[in-house]
């Protein structure tokens, strides 16, 4: 098991290096080169030469790459030119990325916590009310665009009925910032009203964002449980007279979860895309807006950070999926 994890970790490092190389080559191949990209077409030759030297562009390419990597590891990506001109790109990232992660994590936990039990019950009582309700909900979940659902939720629950806040991440109360994960910060500093406020702001966007992962995970769980219920080893478990609880957990769910885990991993990509739209509707202040703005203003410093961060999220999620797979299925471990 440990060897398996170490092997996967090394693979993960390899993937990140390959990605950084691609990023480096892309930055160098920007129209007119990095300097034009950063200074615009009309800069004087002197300014260009100065920046070129400052960026080390006159050195051999591999030296440039090593330096680029060195800076990247230290979080030095330079100053933002478009999103928040002059501010450090990595600082911007540190402030805004936690919002998106908090939202996405909350949404996926919500989706999993409802979809998996519901998928099991739906399969076990095929054709029952729960089954039909699950199927209809999941159809609606995939059919309705995330931003539209977000808008509906905001209109009814926030604006019309005033049950939950309509925008932002927290009420304007005095909160100490530690990690910029607001829920976590409140717990760490024992400012529980801050956590409570952050939680209330999180609910509507998280529900909107959870709709698609819920739908997909519910369907996969249901189908997978139906398959497993037909397996001979479940009949063996029944023949042993085991308690329902044991059969459900140890024999049915443990096997049925394998495809579900893979699906959850794949949903994370869709989740980040959905987060961008949801954040806009709820003015959530995550990387959604930052990404759009940095793109249109050619803020390459910020863009670099975001690309690396997104890649890191995917790689880490993949690692987690692989590890859970190995925990569940011994056949993966020994392979």
């Amino acid at each position: 098991m440990l060897r398996f994890i170490i092997r996967r970790l090394l693979q993960m490092v390899g993937v990140m290096i390959a990605l950084s190389l691609l990023l480096f080559l892309w930055l160098r191949s920007l129209p007119g080169g990095t300097v034009s990209a950063m200074l615009g077409e009309r800069a004087t030759p002197e300014t260009r030469a100065r920046l070129s030297k400052a960026l080390g562009l006159d050195e051999p390419i591999w030296v440039q790459y090593v330096k680029f990597m060195g800076r990247a590891l230290k979080g030095q990506f330079g100053a933002s030119t478009g999103v928040l001109p002059g501010a450090d790109a990595f600082d911007i990232f540190l402030k805004r990325f936690p919002a998106t992660i908090e939202l996405s994590a909350f949404a996926i936990i919500l989706a999993v916590a409802i979809a998996i039990p519901m998928g099991y019950v739906a399969a076990k009582r095929r054709g029952s009310a729960v089954d039909n309700a699950g199927i209809v909900t999941s159809l609606v979940g995939v059919a309705i665009p995330v931003f539209f659902l977000a808008f509906l939720l905001k209109y009814f629950f926030a604006i019309k009925w005033g049950l939950l806040p309509a925008s932002g991440r927290q009420d304007s109360i005095n909160c100490t910032r530690v990690t910029n994960f607001f829920i976590l910060d409140g717990l760490l500093t024992r400012e529980f009203d801050c956590t409570w406020s952050a939680l209330k702001h999180l609910i509507l966007p998280a529900v909107a964002l959870a709709s698609i992962p819920f739908a997909v995970i519910f369907r996969i769980t249901r189908a997978s449980v139906l398959d497993v219920l037909d397996e001979d080893y479940v009949r063996t478990a029944e023949a042993k007279g085991l308690a329902n609880r044991t059969i459900r957990g140890r024999h049915v769910m443990r096997n049925a979860l394998l495809p579900v885990v893979t699906t959850i991993g794949l949903q994370v990509g869709a989740l980040l895309a959905g987060a961008v739209l949801t954040e806009r509707v709820f003015n959530f202040g995550g990387i959604g807006d930052t990404l759009a703005v940095s793109f249109f203003t050619r803020d390459y410093a910020v863009l670099q950070v975001l690309i690396i961060a997104a890649a890191a999220v995917f790689v880490i999620v993949n690692l987690l999926v692989d590890i859970s797979y190995a925990v569940i299925d011994p056949r993966v471990r020994t392979r």
């Binding site: 080893y233 140890r250 011994p330």
Partner: protein, 337 residues
Amino acid sequence: MTSPANDRRKGSDTAPLLTVDNLTVTFQRRGQEPFRAVDGVSFSVRPGQTVGLVGESGCGKSVTSLAIMGLLPKRGNQVTGTVDYEGTNLLTLSDDDMRDRRGKDIAMVFQDPLSSLNPVIPVGLQVTEVLERHRGIKRKDAMPMAADLLKRVGIPDPNRRIKDYPHQMSGGMRQRALIAIALACAPRLLIADEPTTALDVTIQAQILALLKELVEDTGTALIMITHDLGVVAGLCDEVNVLYGGRIVERGDRHPIFREPRHPYTNGLLGSIPRLDTVGERLTPIPGSVADNLPWDHACAFAPRCSQPVEVCTTNTPTLEESGGRALRCFNPVEVAR
């Protein structure tokens, strides 16, 4: 080689442990006529006795065993008749009461050892969980017992093997493990549904020998389900031959083998390879179950029978008992001598 103990156990004066009476299982199938997979089957098993249920694939052997175990799907079928286990009709027990008996009083070994074991948990746990469930033994204390059980079914190095997963074992070893699981709580009745069909020929013989030894040592009654009369020959005290969901012939092992009376039994005997008839052609029974006539107004076997008479396609033969044997046929095979 019959010890006095054996004679007593198998003697016809002991009260039956299990009596199946007029068991009928009907499957309701959407847009089709209901289908009677098991059709008025009656037989009994005495303590320590080994009873065979023999017949071609699809004749209702597995459905019979699943009905006894209460393991048929919850919906889409109707079960009638009685399955009496020492005075209790198992068919009327609640789900929970039946769950208390399965794996403890009655255990079962299935056909395919690979798919019958859970691939993602160690074999040891698959043994101990029965002990935990029915005997209330803690997992820690059950582990050495599991190792002992694995040793008893002939798995070498059992202390290491309890940590193995099914895919790390050979086919024969997996079937041994399943037998160990079935015998863990010392059930009084074991049902083995084609336990050797999925195995290599050499392994088949070993598994049969093991089953025979275990039921003789422990006095467990055994219902042996097989499509292969060869399996029955070495193992069973009594043989029930099933065709189209009904018993067509029953008798003790030796009389059945020496003098089969039903043309179907005779046909089955003609299609098993025997050492003393090397070179002779095997004669399989022509046709298939798809040719069956409905039992309601004919002998289902008539289209494939070697010696049908007119009445076979117009009337239903009944199961007639005489001299410890039972036979359902209008025109039985003549007994030589």
